[in-house]
Symmetry: C2
Subunit: 228 residues, 2 copies
């Protein structure tokens, strides 16, 4: 069946939030959005309700929708929680994956590598999101999936710069991350839970390092101080 305008609005808003094209904390105007997507306010409001349920936006009575913010306390929770959930999901996925899901995962990984080759950092970030979301689906656990979905939203938003590496060192890190994906695919296919968990934790460490360096960059060299 063809995608309805409502479905398009839903997936477009998801993508724009994940890519920080719409910034964390930004206001969403019902009237403007319903106009943009060519649907009336009623179905657009349902889209916003759905996005709220998934953790993309926050709704406040009588004052509309805001994109979920990423304040200090959110970040703290994020770094605190992610490794445990990612590892648990990985372990379950190794035990529960099926053939069709394996095909999808390989397909998404191919798209991920293609995006890296074309230096399309936005597409790479979204393919990476989809890769990890698929592993979440494999785990087949509604409780952990709810946590994972929310973690991936913030992870993807924080990693926007990751896939546009500036230095050769950073390029090597991205390459390593892609290789880890391939190793994870192999281990999940082999149902080798221990290896998948270890790879997942390594993958997390690499990503965490990059994110922490982005959040707390190296100080500027002192000799530039007079120019500021």
């Amino acid at each position: 069946m063809p995608l309805s305008s409502k479905d398009k609005a839903l997936s477009d808003l998801r993508l724009r939030i994940l890519s920080t094209d719409i910034a964390p904390g930004a206001d969403l105007d019902e009237a403007r959005l319903s106009d943009t997507y060519g649907i009336s306010r009623t179905p657009l409001r349902e889209v916003l309700q759905k996005l709220a349920g998934e953790g993309f936006v926050m709704l406040a009575p009588n004052r509309g929708a805001k994109v979920a913010s990423m304040d200090l306390s959110t970040m703290r929770s994020f770094f605190q929680t992610a490794p445990m959930i990612y590892a648990s999901i990985a372990r379950l996925a190794a035990g529960a994956r099926n053939e069709e899901q394996m095909r999808d995962l390989k397909e998404v990984q191919a798209q991920f590598r293609q995006a890296l080759l074309e230096q399309d950092s936005g597409a790479a970030a979204l393919a990476n999101h989809r890769f990890h979301a698929l592993i979440g689906e494999m785990a087949h656990n509604v409780y952990l999936s709810a946590a994972l979905q929310r973690l991936l939203i913030d992870h993807t938003r924080m990693s926007q710069t990751f896939y546009a590496p500036a230095s050769d060192d950073d390029r090597a890190l991205v390459e390593t991350a892609a290789d880890q994906h391939d190793a994870m695919i192999a281990a999940i296919e082999a149902q080798d839970a221990e290896t998948v968990v270890q790879l997942t934790l390594d993958h997390w460490d690499l990503s965490r390092n990059r994110m922490e360096r982005f959040v707390r960059p190296d100080p500027l060299p002192m000799e530039n101080a007079h120019a500021v």
Copy 2:
């Protein structure tokens, strides 16, 4: 501000689903419900969307809302996931709780004991739900809270019989559970994370035993076989 009819619909549906007054898998008719709560279909649909976001109901395009089902695969995930999430939440709550939340927690525990005294098993189950949801709020972690909320929905639905103990043994178990609540309150107030985690795991074991016995009851005695 006074509760609107919409808010009443939302909380009433939550309670009816938690108490299995509306059974898992049951169909929800928009027209009937909007009539019941005296609101039009538009706001009622928003209520259903919200309930879907919280994991109470499932929405399927063009075929309305169903109460979240509890099939075998759900149960399996539940027993697999609950102890880890409960323990993590408990640990965080011990570190992050504030005074107002402690007051609320003690208040809810008082309501819980009162319900036990009055042998109001429905009220006891709901107070127990609220007790653990409050600890979730204390943890101040959106990712784990998303998982906890969903776990508590199913836990409360599965525990409906727990607070209507039939034997003296079962009555003692309920009493033990209430005592564990008090010990948890004390440990959270003292910010003693290790003790809270241990108490939480003990509390889980007690509940798990009861649930497993309910799901897989002892076989009937053989001498009754001819009567079946």
